[in-house]
Symmetry: D2
Subunit: 343 residues, 4 copies
Amino acid sequence: MIRAGIVGGTGYAGVELLRLLSQHPEVEPAVITSRGNAGTPVAEMFPNLRGVLDLVFTEPDTGRLAECDVVFFATPNGTAMQSTPELLDRGVRVIDLGADFRIRDVPLWQRWYGMEHTCPELVAEAAYGMPEINRAVIREARLVANPGCYPTCALLAVAPLLAAGAVERDHIVVDAVSGVSGAGRTPKQHTLLCEANENFVAYGTAGHRHHPEIAQGMGELAGAEVGLTFVPHLVPMTRGMHASVYVRLADEAQEAQALFDEHFAGEPFVDVLPAGSNPQTRTVRGTNFCRLAVHPGGAPRTLVVLSVIDNLVKGASGQAVQNMNLMFGLEETAGLTGVAVLP
Amino acid sequence: MIRAGIVGGTGYAGVELLRLLSQHPEVEPAVITSRGNAGTPVAEMFPNLRGVLDLVFTEPDTGRLAECDVVFFATPNGTAMQSTPELLDRGVRVIDLGADFRIRDVPLWQRWYGMEHTCPELVAEAAYGMPEINRAVIREARLVANPGCYPTCALLAVAPLLAAGAVERDHIVVDAVSGVSGAGRTPKQHTLLCEANENFVAYGTAGHRHHPEIAQGMGELAGAEVGLTFVPHLVPMTRGMHASVYVRLADEAQEAQALFDEHFAGEPFVDVLPAGSNPQTRTVRGTNFCRLAVHPGGAPRTLVVLSVIDNLVKGASGQAVQNMNLMFGLEETAGLTGVAVLP
Amino acid sequence: MIRAGIVGGTGYAGVELLRLLSQHPEVEPAVITSRGNAGTPVAEMFPNLRGVLDLVFTEPDTGRLAECDVVFFATPNGTAMQSTPELLDRGVRVIDLGADFRIRDVPLWQRWYGMEHTCPELVAEAAYGMPEINRAVIREARLVANPGCYPTCALLAVAPLLAAGAVERDHIVVDAVSGVSGAGRTPKQHTLLCEANENFVAYGTAGHRHHPEIAQGMGELAGAEVGLTFVPHLVPMTRGMHASVYVRLADEAQEAQALFDEHFAGEPFVDVLPAGSNPQTRTVRGTNFCRLAVHPGGAPRTLVVLSVIDNLVKGASGQAVQNMNLMFGLEETAGLTGVAVLP
Amino acid sequence: MIRAGIVGGTGYAGVELLRLLSQHPEVEPAVITSRGNAGTPVAEMFPNLRGVLDLVFTEPDTGRLAECDVVFFATPNGTAMQSTPELLDRGVRVIDLGADFRIRDVPLWQRWYGMEHTCPELVAEAAYGMPEINRAVIREARLVANPGCYPTCALLAVAPLLAAGAVERDHIVVDAVSGVSGAGRTPKQHTLLCEANENFVAYGTAGHRHHPEIAQGMGELAGAEVGLTFVPHLVPMTRGMHASVYVRLADEAQEAQALFDEHFAGEPFVDVLPAGSNPQTRTVRGTNFCRLAVHPGGAPRTLVVLSVIDNLVKGASGQAVQNMNLMFGLEETAGLTGVAVLP
């Protein structure tokens, strides 16, 4: 059994990781830390885990974490980089669900995240943890930067197009929505039920931290810089993310459906829907799937790609488990075979 | 008092019209018809009107309707055109909340709506009922084609830009969402709470009937045909519509905020938000307001316009009342001064 | 025009009071205070009031408040009692939406609210502000204790029965639910959308502060102490309160429907539904109505009374305006004639 | 592998059964019938099953069903009784998720369900499928009447009390709420999102079909007839059921917590919460658990029991699988070990 540690398990990515790891056939959740809740049984905070998980939150302690095979950081940005060097030195593999190792351009990261990076040399080493794009590198990695939710949803939507050079790179529009769980479990006014319910609103219009991450990913796929407009919106539901991506085809005659079918053939967690379909977020809720559909736009040479994920699973904890499976040579789908509860 | 008749008052546009007219200082709701519910008190079907409105649904009867000063059609497409000629002949003004008179190109209308038009000559006469674009014509009209909800939300978002020739016309993207009430009160599977709740999904991707209406409106504003991609989505809430419109500026230096501020100065129902704002659908719920905000996009020369309305008010019944006010020389805001209930 | 001051207008009762007063024909909202938000325009915090209300939050200042005719306290418990004596001395009438003056038994109040009362003599003077029970006293009052939401919903449900001595007093069950807005606008974990949405849970089972208030009200109606079991629950919606009250009739033959019809005949805000009906919370949303229905229970001599209100209107700010109307000799329904927006 | 057939798999109990059986280690879903959807792949109707289940709906055909080891009926009431005799004759075991075999008193059943029973002799034979009450009988049964959702939720809440003779039997109040999925997948007006959302309403107040089933179950537990008042309510969420049960203790000194702890010790799917807890419906969503809590009521000798289940799992399909496991000598929890997705 792989011994897993979780740092910062009291948020939504944390509880989702606990749910997934507690049902994983080859993993034992061994340590879970929380500065504020040491001593509290996990199942008291998250009663869905009553009878399933017996762990108790403990104070963060690198010594105990170092006894794990892998440590997941489900912490605010800037936390993972503090302990990662020591854990790697002691032979532990690290998967950071935060943003500390996602942006290759460290000064750019520092601008967006408003802090100095304490181990920039590890940024270069870290594997960007999107298996559909980067599987071989992840298998060999000691350190994985687990992608953000919007980047996951958006990059899967354009990967076949950018890899094929099929679209104009200077005017890509990603219009995306996220369920409220993306904003976390810390109480804030705008995520109260009474504020977010029966409401729809854009946010991050002045610049969202996932913009440079998506642009970096698109640039790597395209082999050149892209012009990206990204507007996220908050949708009154708990889970789910949907991106509607608008691109202009370089060539009217592109067979987009075939391009997507071929590109993702064999991917265990990407489901390209038949032509004419519209992916629903609820069909991936609680699962690691991304469902995609392509449609011609109403204007000439415009293509619309629709992409859905569960922001907490393929957009966070599920993808982290998928990465762990690759890093440890397990079946890539191990622990990730649950079916969405519908309705 | 203006005597108002309503044909087809059992849907959501109908009940909203009843709510607005029952509180209008200069209107008396005099007749309300429903083929299937004749004899039923309105307040029995819509208990929010208990003690407010004493009307009883009656069988459709052009004779009784002809005693009204104005008749509103809140009926399925194709119904209003049956009775409108006779009502106009008898001196009644008509406001059609359906689509029968919205599209100038009758063959195009017939293709999208799958039926033959029975009075194409009236299509030419009908005023397109968006006061912010067409106020003078509406004042003189006998027949008003009340705009669709998506066209209202989208056209207000681009009117200043297209009127000023500020954007490239060949690649306009309207990404819009609607609350579920837009799909009506007739039971359908996809609008059940258990299907629509906690879900987000695009629809009409193969072609939505509001596409030609938006394209027509944009074309008139721009003075030339536009290339429009329009993708509507269903959002898990009852009311509210949000459009995120993506355009490319013809000229990098456009001062979009000032353009919008000036264009809509003095409009009683259009509220251009200060720079940096994001309009929330809930702030217009139950009201006739459109709130707008403009933002630079992340890609060069890209502009994002955000627009919110209540799909049943400014997107249907409220705009119909606004049109009636203009047609009868009343204060344009009469009966439309309610404040959104928040939260 | 009556000049109204509001202390603590940044919560949900506050914004609702602002909405109602800004539309009241005989009131001018003159002062609104907030310690933390002085200088902020009200319409910036509550954009539904953009263009409707021009006020700016100011620091609490008894001098400025004393220039008002009436001051509403929409503050945490224990705040109103600090300034009320001085305001009354200066001839201002006071309506406290909090609990400071609701419980006649001051030691009991002190136990439940965990603080010492600073003006117990005013508790004796204060009128309990439920017009349907206490109208004459309210008309003459300088100080009104506006009832809690659960007490309003529950007492209206049993008033006819207790007044008639029709039920056994020792075993009254009030099973009630509240929309999440009852828990306020201050961010707390359990009222986040992600926690409260798609969930139903009882709370306050160890003892809720509205228990003594309901028991006091029932006792006064019955003329003797009652045995009350009260269990509130949180329901995943923003507004609305529903009580299902279970009582045993003293006498099998009671004609409960007639008792209710007669008892509330002429009440402007109590709507007794026809036999067989079930009141829906949404039909009173944003309004000052209470809708009631009575049903025989399945067990012998058991009666079920169903009662709905909007917790922020009849359960808070609307009832406060109704009380103000009575205190100033205005039409009781002034400013309270809006119709629920449905759906 | 056990070959399972499902009759009527297009409703919510049906898709839930498909989800559970498709993940059951010892079951093969072999046949699924639907009169209206023969030929449609299951995963086309329920896209959460894409890639998981390859079945296609077929016409109902007793011959094909007879090749199964067990047949589940997830059909409207009155359907299962048509084919059950033949299936039993051919050696197939039958689990009816409908009500055909739940009520021992056939004339009473006929009154409530408005039809004649076609095989009353099998009513006597059928095992009432609540393992916590009836495990030994279920193990030996050919035919199981799977309980209704409200009866499951209510009977588990009172079983320890009635079995111990601890409460007065003549005045039991069950106040219960159900998520909207309990009303099924067939489009109806009152279950539209726009009707059910942001609303709370009682229903079935004139008499709900689960009343006689709950009363029968309570009577068997108590060994004598009970006086039951049962009021169900619709709560604006998809899944989940909560019962608040109010009883009077025969004897003030009852130790209710201990009674519950002992009664349900060792039950795999009943979780008695620690004193002071309130069970949340979301903690059992998608799972077969019932969570219970007991509280003293505010009136003397009153006890409140709170009980939550997922209406589609423990209240329908999950309990059916639990019954199947018992009937076939499998591990009782097989296929039912999933953890609730939270949030």
